[in-house]
Symmetry: C2
Subunit: 209 residues, 2 copies
Amino acid sequence: MDNSISMAVIKRLPKYHRYLKELLDRDVKRISSKELSEIIGFTASQIRQDLNNFGGFGQQGYGYNVEDLYKEIGKILGLTKTYKTVIIGAGNLGQALANYTSFGSYGFELVGIFDKNPKIVGLEINGIEVTDVDLMKKFLENNDVDIAYICTNKTGAQFVADILVQAKVKAIWNFAPVDLKVSEDIRVENVHLIDDLLTLSYFLKEQGE
Amino acid sequence: MDNSISMAVIKRLPKYHRYLKELLDRDVKRISSKELSEIIGFTASQIRQDLNNFGGFGQQGYGYNVEDLYKEIGKILGLTKTYKTVIIGAGNLGQALANYTSFGSYGFELVGIFDKNPKIVGLEINGIEVTDVDLMKKFLENNDVDIAYICTNKTGAQFVADILVQAKVKAIWNFAPVDLKVSEDIRVENVHLIDDLLTLSYFLKEQGE
């Protein structure tokens, strides 16, 4: 595996994966970089360049075999195994994520939900009982959790992140609007919903000019 | 305004805006592209190139004036006016978004929430009563709504989008896992939460190799 693959390429792979899944569902067997370009919105040369990073799966004059490409990208994205996940913060957002059954179909298995609010602790969400956050560290140490979704408010997020680091959770998906300070061996993806809105306001402004 | 600004640049602007806000909050007056690079994670040359698209606000040997740059990027992003927004689908996700007060501070004003579930219609969320979706079209026509957040399930999303197009809403922020078919004069941003998870699984796989 070439380790010099840029973050930009990696960030595009999930999109390839999603579109190839749709093609597969529509029983499309093969596709050219030009056709793929039209549905996915990257240029054909960008697509060829991206996929070359991983050895290139296309054949001149044939294009890409959709199923092979889908499977290969799935492998590259690490989707050949399952990942244990937990949610911390079972407010509206945490509950929404707990009910996203599609995550499970990709292999992201939800094994625990934690909250500190006594009114929420004990509730069952999507078949999982919400546990007191005070018991989280012990749970994490016993359950080899891969990814934690932080759905707390801004104030609670760093406290939670510190426990996750101590318990050697491997990755954090952070929905709290704060930059977490964590050790370098834990991977963090921050969700900034406001960024999408600012992209929309940019375009609304451009239209109005 | 140069209309050839690439989507990639536009997508980076909200991140500049967020980091500049943090610098402002910490009372930082000026910053070099190198220092900005260290906190924001783009290269200094990328930063200079990005900001040159908009006329360039830096001065040789001084760097950027944080407040000026923050205000300029805010202007570019269309944050000098307010936008009327509605939420369709008041399940957990819709309720979570309704309670994100930070959107309001950017000028995205929530003016309506709609759902079809009789158990949810009539509830008050963040001071706004959930209205029956059957009344939505009339509401939209009377209220000049800029952006609609679709938080329905996959099945309901296209039905809702058709009404939004008819009522001349200008932009859609789509959380439903489906590609909407809409006319070209309506701007759509799709949220694909799974993409973040696939980025994380990529890195977990790389670590494990």
